[in-house]
Every structure is written in C-alpha cells, then in structure tokens.
C-alpha cells in the first residue's frame, strides 16, 4: 500500500467516526479488562466466592439519562480518569509491594489495559470537546483512596477492586457511547434550530 494523501472528513463524519472509534476502543478495553481480571484471579487463586464490596472507588455520579450529553461525557471521562489514576497506583503498589518479578501474561495485560484506558480517555476527551466545546478539567484526586491498604490481602483485594472498577466504568462507557450518536444528532438538530430561531428574532 503506497502512501495516500489524508482524506478530508466533515465535522459530522468526524463526530460519528470518533464515537464509533471510542466505542470500539471501550469494547476492546472491556475485553482486555476481563482477561486481566481472569489472569489476576488465576494469579491470586481467587475463587468465585471472593467478591469485592459494592461501593465504588470512583467518586463520580453515574451518568443519567437526564443529563445532557456533555455532562454524561464529562462524568464518563472523569470516571475513566480516576480509573486510570487508580490503575496506575495499583500497578505501582503491586510492583512496590510484590516486586517487579518477571513480566508474564498478567503484567503484559495489565500494561495493555492501562494503555488502552489512556487511549479511551483521549477519545472521550475528543468527544467531550466535540460535544460541548468546553475544556474538561482533570478531576481532583483528593478524596480518592489512592494510597491503598498496606496489608497484603487487603492490597490484593484493593487491586482486584480497581480492576473491577475499570471493568465497570468500561461497561458504562460502552453504554454511554453507544447511546451518543443519536443524542449528538438530536442535540445538533436542536442547537441548529435554536440558533436559527435566535437569528430570526434578531
């Protein structure tokens, strides 16, 4: 395949393509996250009865259908940012507490999930920009339990909980993103109508 010139894309195409891309990445992240959880359970010999608490680590209100797209995306983006922070902390803690050791499938998968999450964040950030044109502030890490427990078992459960959290928010991302195209279209139509009405009034 020889070099090809960059093809031009319209704004509408870009939005739709960005949403589709973000959705695909979220789905891939979910798949990779499930593998990571599987590998972690296998690694730590966690049986099915080992469960984590229902409470969320990420302190973001869950996206509601009542929220506007921009807010939904903001919540999602914020939650994913926190997930990444937790994940980075978990990886650092795990390596700090349990040693680097050799890089096996688990470590590779863990790194992959982190990077995929970063890619997803780039895409949700893009979507957020596209949706509202508002700068997204990085959520404060204050109040997050980033230090983690010091007891080994609790640490392992904490890490497991973080992986679960990433998995949860990835699923949420998929749901949110899959609902976006129609929303964007409607909102765009509404925005256009409002603008035209305003200009008519003038």
């Amino acid at each position: 395949m020889a070099a090809r010139r960059t093809r031009g894309m319209t704004g509408s195409d870009l939005s739709r393509a960005t949403v589709a891309r973000a959705t695909a990445i979220a789905e891939l992240l979910r798949y990779e996250c499930s593998i990571l959880l599987e590998l972690y359970r296998k690694k730590e010999s966690f049986t099915a009865d080992v469960t984590v608490t229902e409470s969320r680590l990420v302190s973001v209100p869950p996206p509601s259908s009542q929220l506007e797209t921009r807010d939904k995306l903001w919540c999602l983006h914020s939650a994913l940012l926190q997930c990444r922070s937790f994940l980075e902390r978990a990886i650092a803690k795990e390596e700090e507490q349990l040693g680097g050791g050799k890089k096996g499938d688990y470590e590779t998968q863990r790194k992959m999930v982190k990077e995929r999450l970063t890619i997803l964040l780039i895409n949700t950030g893009e979507l957020l920009k596209t949706a509202g044109g508002v700068m997204v502030l990085t959520p404060s890490s204050e109040g997050l339990e980033l230090d983690g427990p010091t007891i080994l078992f609790e640490l392992k459960l904490w890490i497991y909980r973080i992986f679960e959290e990433v998995d949860y928010w990835t699923k949420t991302a998929i749901t949110t993103l899959q609902a976006l195209p129609s929303v964007i279209a409607k909102e765009r139509a509404r925005t256009t109508r409002v603008r035209s009405m305003r200009s008519a009034r003038r």
Binding site: R21, Y31, M112, I119
Partner: protein
C-alpha cells in the same frame, strides 16, 4: 531575481568578513597571514561556490599577490574577484563529488618577509559536496501479528530518491503519530530505507496513525507524503490456523472447511479468502470473495469432482474494505472427496500386431479408466461381438476383467482375428459405487481400413516442454467423430489420448521423456470405426548423441580413402541426426567435410600418398554433437595399377635391352668376336724383320677385359671406320699410348702375359718419358723387370725359355727401332740365349700362330687367378676413365707426328 540573491549573498559574505576580522582568535591571527572564509562549507553539487581569501595582520602582502588552487590545480584568474587590497574572492563550479581542498596561496617573492613567513602565507578549506535530499517515495508500513495481538513494532520502508555522497550522506527519520493524541510522534532515525518504530505497549487499535519520513542531510531536509490511516489499515495478520477439511459420503462433490484465528474479533474483524485445486494440478480456483466476506470460521466447497484429492488454503485480512494486507496463505490441507458412480465412459483402444498365422491379426484391447471415474475403478466388463454373430446370437455375455494394479492401462483381452473379419468390442468400468456407460470400438476387416482416410499434413513438434501435434482433417466424406493420438517408444507400452472432432492442434498430455524418439500416430475415428493413421517420429527435446559412430577405413588409395561409419543405435541418438562431419588431418591442417545424415560412407580425395592420416567423425543433432575416436590410416605409396605399370614398363625395358643385345650379338658378331676373342699373333710367325716402325702398327685393342672391349666396340660403331681404316697410323700410336698406360707388356697384348705390377711400377718410373719418347722407353723399362719378376723360377723346359727369350727380345727390338743395324746383331745375340719371339706389336700374325703361342703359354701357368683379378679392377677403372675422355687421344697426336720420323 538571481541577481538579487547573488547581491544578498555577497553582502552577507562581506558582513561575515567584517565579523571575521574581529572574531578571529588571536592565535589564528598570530599563526597565519591568510584566512579563507567560509570555513568547512558543505556545497551542493552543480552550484558555484565563492570563497574569500583575507590578508590579515600584514601589509607586506596584497590581494594581487594571492592566487587560488583547487585540488592542487591553480584556478584561472578569470574566476578571481578582487574585493579590496586585502581580500580576494574566487568562484569555482562544484562538479566533482570528491572532497577537494581550496587553497589560497601567496606568490613567491624574494622579500625577507616572504622568506621568513612562507608557511604562514597559505590557507585552505575542505570542500564537502553533496546533494540536497529529495522526497522519499512509496512509503509503506505494516504491523504484523504476534500471537493473539498485533505487534507494536511498526515496520516501514520507502524508496529513496536522488543521490548522496559519502561526505554528505542523507539520513532518514520515521515519524509515527497516533491520532487523536497530544503526545509527540514516535521517531526512529535510520540511514537505510526501512526501519521499525515501537508504538508504545499496545497496538493502537481503532486509532489513526500518521506516518511520514524525513530525509535530511547537511544541505537540507524534506518530508515524504504523510500516510494517515486507521491503524487497521497497516495490519497484516498471520494466516488462519488449524485449517481442517471434512468430507461427507452423502456429498461426493463437497468439502467442508473449518478454521480458527488467534486474533479476537473484538480486536480485529477479519475477512477470508479460500482457494483450492485438484491435487497435482497447478492452477488454483478462488472462491469468490463475496462468499467469504463475512467474519466466518467455516466454508463449504461445492461442485467438486467426486473422488478427487483437493488442496485447500485460506488467507485473511482486516475485514474493513481497503484496510490491511492479505495474510500469507495457510499451509495446504489435502482432502479427497467421496466416491460416486463413473460419469464418463472408459477409454478403450487396441493394439494390432501380426498374427501367428497368415492372414490373421493379433488384436489386443486395452483401456484406461474413465476420465470421470469418480472413484477407484475396480474392474471392467468387456464384450467382444462379431457383427454377424449379433444377428445370430443376439448379445453375448460380459466378461469381467479386474483393473490392472500396475499403471493406468489395463490389458483387457487379446484375440487372433482373421484379416477379413471385423469385430466390435464393448466395455464399461465399475467402481465401488456403480458402473459407467458403455464404450465401444470397431475393428474393421484389414482390407477396409484403408477406406477410411487418414488425417493430412500431420506435424509433430516440441513447444514449451510439450510435444504438439497439428493436422488437417481427413479428406473424406465421412464424418470424424473424434481423433486418437497414439504414441509409443520401442520396447515400451503405447499410450494414447482422445481428442474432440474439431481438434486440429493438441499437445500430448502423457509423460514424455527427453531425448527419446517417439512414434506418434493420429487416428481419425469415424463413429467407432478406426481410420488409417498418419505417423511421425518426434523428440520432446533433442540432445547430443550419447555415442559417436565408429569410423573405419574401407578402402585406401594413393590420393583417396573411403571411410565407412556405423549408424548410432536408436537409443543413443537422442535426436535426429542432422549431418555427419568428417575430420581428417595429416598432422598439420585439419580438414572437415559435412555430409548428410543418411550417409554412411564417404571417400576422401586429394590426399597425399604414403601419408598417415587421422580421421574422426562428428554426429550432430540440433541438440549437440558427439565426436568419435580417432581412426588412423595410411595412404598407399602407389596408386592402384601404378605398380603394375612400373613392373610392366621395367619388364618391357629389360626385354628391349635383351632383344637389342641379342640383335647386336647377331649383327655385330664379328666385331664382338674380335673384341672379346681377339686374334693372338702367333709368335712363331713373328719375325723381327717384318716389323719396322714404318710398318703400320695394327690397332691392338686392349683385351684384358670384355667390357673394355665393348667400349672399344662402341667407339668402333661410332668411329670404326676412321679408327680402323682411315687413321690406322694415329690409332696405332694411340694404342701404343694405351698400352703404355695400361702397363701391358705390349708383347702378348694380354695382361695374362705380363705382370701388372711390373707394368705399373715401370709406368710410374717412366710415365713422363712415355709421353714424349714413345714405346722405346717402355720396352726398355720392361726388359729389366721381366727377369726380376721371374727370379727364382727355374725354367725347366724349352717353351718356358722361349717365353722369357721373347720377353727379353723386345728390348733389342726397341733398340732396333732406333738402330736397325744394331737390332739385327742384338737379335742374333738374343736368339742365342732364348728362342726368338715374334713382336707382339705386329698384327699380321695368323690365328694358328696365336693358338700355338697359347699352347705354349698354358703350361706355364703364368696368369694366376689372383693376379688376374687384381689387375682387372684397375684396368676397368682406367678403361672407364679413358673411354669417355677423348683428351688422351688428342694428346697423343703430337706424339704421332714426333714418332713417325723415327
């Protein structure tokens, strides 16, 4: 525009010079009085470069004293520009890629300053040259599969454009940006036209990648076109793994293919392509992409041939249209379709040979499996029917013949068929599922075969590794239903193939060996009736013969030789012999003659006689040639009949000589007799008184030797008359001389009568005298010799005494020549001691007297054989010397005159 640029450049240069003056380090100023700017320039090929030489820290040297050299060659002054009294510019074109030194030097001067500072009045710069980089083209990148992931090692390659030099090389940087993203693009520098860049820890699926290459060197940099595509666009996966093929008995024309792929669909959706072919064939059949476009994991191949082995391969790529590279093909999986009933007829044929009996043929029926056997043929059912019997008996019973386990041809049945009879044979093939339709073939009565016309203008030729046939349809009103192409090699089973009725050109599909002569026949088939064949011989490929003919001499002559050579055996020819080349040499020049292939003998002509020749022969085909061993032969010394001619000629010559000799003997009998058997004067008849000097001395030819006599006879023949009749006087003197030279005693005229030694010695003693004083001296010399030669011999008989008396009597005789008076007295004195002896020089003695004298001599045994033979040789020699040379004769002429007065 160009002028403006030049002016700007010049201004900049002057500014640089101005800065240079203040910026030069103190050390440089102290070390040199000249400085070239700019320093270490990198120059673009094909441009002009201007450098300035500045004089610093001295006023002893001016710009007029400066000159430039480039690569050791002085730059012409036309290229100089004087800026001011202390600066000189030079402009040189940059044409050579080599790095060169541009030197500013000061002309030699005989000033103290120059002498002390010569080393400081020079400065140079190294001109590095190169090309401005050009935009790389055809950038392409690929991300390959690694286990269940796509590798983050992103490989790219591109085509470099333009030239570069060793001193100014072009480097490249591969940039890869993941979009959207705020991070910096990945960079990978390289000197080559390909490299790999690592895209983080995971392949950025669904993201956009922007890739470009920057080519840069000291003269500039340039970017290639940017390649901006979805990451999946660059992916090349592994082929599907675990490809399995299943056959189902209920579907003999179908195969089911299953496969898996390590790449999860969530990561990359794939599309597949499938291809298959019958085992052993070359061409693949592709399943239409539309049938395999979806993300499938199995596929059913349909419309296949039953009981055929198929080879199947699967490949995949990103399912997104236009994205990704097709993977390599999976490893071949082979599977055979289930059996089905044969759907075509068996291929029936026959071989006809001479029968054991007269007017009978031996017909062997053979067959091949049906083309669409759809299974393994286990047997054939055969029925042979006489058309007449059909009318009588209806149908005969079928005979089941198992298929041959060896090879593809089954011998069905062999029958002896009368020439005037015809039969029809029926056959069907059976496999495990069922029977085929019937095939049939007619064998006509021999006489009728020629009624069915053969194909015309059959040509057989090799082409692209196959043996091709071309023919024209038979000129017949009957319709040809098909053709049978048959080929066979001596000693091997025949093979055949059938062609459709409209075929006029085909290739033999069976396996053919190279360098083997095939007999190829084309039979037209007229609705089962076999027509007359057209035949040709052909090679798939011709090569040099394996063996050469053996050349032998058949017949040799003096100037020609006939050579024969053997024919190369059919198996060793490996091609059609195009010609033979005969080489022959006698050691210097090699001659060659090319003769046609159908020749087995040749006569070399223009050969030298009695000469050894080496000859060899080269047999050639279009594929090469083979040279035989040398064969040597020697031509004859004489041509045929030449020897006989010589023998006959010599014989005739000898016969002629003999005849001539005989004739001579007959006709010149008297002369011969006189020469060989001369009349010896009878001493008894001799009287001293009868002899006088004036009395013509009879020619007394030497008689020592027969040959000499013949020589004399020759002279006689030529000049006989003048010698013997007309000039007897001169001849007598000549004889006298002869006698003197012959050292004959002159008494008897025969060497037997005197000792030759005595004569020789005497002659030696008085040779000169003999030339001048004639025979008197001879006789006087003979006389003392004779007594000494017979010393010790006591004559005990009277005749002996008489002989000696005669010898001694010659001396007085000679004396008497000078003084006839004294001669008388001396003669009487001599006669007292020994009986008087007649002078030998008289020719008037009668034969009787000679005979008596011989009778007297014989008892003396005075001529021993040894002495005789000893004397014979010198005499001969003398005679030979004498005979052809006339001078002695002429030399005696004066003597004759001188003698006569005596």
């Amino acid at each position: 525009m160009f002028v403006v640029i030049m002016v700007c450049a010049r201004v900049l240069q002057l500014l640089a010079l101005a800065c240079l003056g203040s910026a030069l380090p103190a050390r440089v100023e102290a070390d040199y009085y000249l400085m070239v700017v700019p320093q270490s320039p990198v120059l673009e090929m094909g441009t002009n470069f201007t450098a300035t030489c500045v004089i610093i820290n001295t006023s002893e040297v001016t710009a007029d004293d400066l000159y430039w050299t480039l690569a050791g060659t002085t730059v012409p002054k036309e290229q100089y520009t004087k800026i001011n009294g202390s600066a000189l510019n030079v402009t040189v074109p940059i044409t050579s890629e080599k790095t060169e030194w541009l030197m500013c030097k000061c002309k030699k001067k005989n000033t103290l300053f120059f002498i002390h500072n010569e080393g400081k009045l020079i400065h140079g710069i190294d001109l590095k040259k190169g090309y401005v980089p050009e935009k790389p083209e055809n950038l392409s990148c690929v991300a390959v599969q690694q286990k269940q992931y796509i590798s983050t090692n992103f490989s790219c390659e591109w085509q470099t454009v333009g030239r570069q030099t060793a001193t100014v090389p072009t480097s490249y940087i591969l940039y890869t940006a993941v979009l959207p993203g705020s991070g910096q693009p990945y960079k990978e520098p390289t000197q080559k036209n390909n490299t790999q860049v690592k895209l983080g820890d995971t392949f950025p699926h669904y993201m956009t990648l922007e890739v470009w290459v920057e080519a840069h060197n000291k003269l500039g940099k340039i970017e290639s076109e940017h390649l901006k595509e979805d990451s999946g666009w660059f992916v090349k996966t592994d082929p599907p793994s675990d490809v399995k093929v299943f056959s189902e008995n209920s579907f003999p024309t179908s195969l089911l293919i299953n496969w898996t792929h390590l790449i999860p669909t969530i990561r990359l959706k794939l599309t597949y392509r499938i291809r298959y072919r019958q085992n052993g064939t070359q061409n693949w059949t592709d399943v239409p992409l539309g049938d395999t476009a979806s993300n499938i994991k199995s596929f059913r191949l349909q419309d296949l041939q039953p009981y055929q082995e198929y080879e199947i391969q699967v490949s995949c790529k990103n399912s997104r249209e236009g994205h990704g590279y097709w993977s390599d093909w999976s490893t071949i999986v082979t599977k055979r379709t289930p059996e089905a009933r044969p759907t075509s007829k068996p291929d029936l044929w026959r071989v006809i040979a001479e029968g054991d009996r007269k007017n009978e043929r031996r017909v062997k029926f053979i067959c091949k499996d049906p083309v669409l056997a759809n299974g393994r043929i286990v047997s054939f059912d055969v029925k042979i029917q006489d058309p007449k019997d059909k009318v009588r008996n209806g149908s005969l019973e079928w005979k089941n013949i198992p298929r041959s386990s060896q090879g593809k041809i089954t011998d069905l049945k062999q029958i002896d068929l009368a020439d005037q009879k015809s039969v029809r044979v029926y056959i069907n093939a059976t496999n495990s599922v069922g029977k085929s339709d019937e095939a049939s073939l007619f064998i006509l009565a021999k006489a009728r075969e020629s009624e069915l016309a053969p194909v015309e203008e059959l040509k057989v030729f090799p082409h692209r590794g196959q043996l091709w046939l071309e023919w024209k349809p038979p000129n017949s009103t009957k319709l040809v239903s098909e053709y049978v192409v048959e080929w066979w090699v001596e000693g091997a089973q025949i093979d055949w193939q059938k062609e459709k009725r409209n075929t006029t050109r085909t290739a033999i599909k069976g396996h053919l060996d190279k360098f083997v002569c095939y007999n190829v026949s084309v039979y037209p088939i007229y609705n089962g009736w076999i027509g007359k064949p057209a035949r040709k011989e052909a090679y798939l490929e011709q090569g040099a013969p394996l063996e050469a003919p053996i050349v032998r001499l058949h017949k040799a002559g003096r100037n020609q030789a006939t050579l024969n050579w053997t024919e190369i055996s059919r198996g060793s020819r490996r091609g059609f012999i195009t010609n033979y080349t005969i080489f022959y040499t006698s050691g210097t020049e090699v001659h060659n003659i090319t003769v046609p292939a159908n020749t087995a003998s040749y006569t070399l002509t223009s050969l030298s006689g009695n000469t050894k020749y080496d000859t060899w022969i080269k047999a050639s085909t279009i594929g090469g040639s083979k040279i035989s061993f040398n064969h040597s032969f020697t031509t004859l010394r004489y041509a045929q009949g030449e020897m006989e001619l010589i023998v006959v000629g010599v014989s005739l010559g000898f016969l002629f000589i003999v005849v001539m000799t005989m004739l001579l003997c007959v006709y010149k009998k008297d002369v011969l007799k006189e020469n060989f058997w001369p009349q010896i004067p009878d001493p008894g008849e001799s009287t001293i008184g009868n002899w006088s000097p004036d009395y013509p001395l009879k020619a007394e030819t030497p008689r020592e030797n027969g040959l000499l006599g013949i020589s004399v006879l020759d002279v006689d023949v030529c000049d006989g008359k003048c010698v013997f009749e007309e000039d007897k006087a001169s001849l007598s003197l000549k004889k006298g001389k002869y006698l003197s030279e012959e050292h004959s005693s002159g008494i008897g005229g025969s060497s037997c009568m005197s000792s030759p030694r005595q004569s020789v010695s005497d002659s030696d003693e008085g040779g000169d005298m003999a030339d001048t004083t004639a025979s008197t001296v001879q006789y006087s010399s003979v006389v003392p010799a004779a007594p000494s030669g017979y010393k010790g011999q006591t004559p005990n008989s009277q005749p002996q005494q008489a002989l000696f008396s005669r010898s001694e009597s010659t001396q007085p005789l000679l004396d008497c020549e000078e003084n006839p008076d004294v001669l008388q007295q001396e003669g009487s004195r001599q006669s007292q001691r020994s009986p008087p002896r007649p002078p030998r020089c008289t020719d008037g003695a009668d034969p009787a007297g000679i005979a008596e004298q011989q009778e007297l001599l014989e008892p003396l045994d005075f001529c021993p054989l040894g002495e005789d033979s000893e004397q014979a040789t010198p005499v001969d020699g003398q005679a030979a010397d004498w005979l052809p040379a006339p001078p002695p004769l002429s030399s005696y002429m004066p003597q004759l005159g001188g003698y006569r007065p005596q």
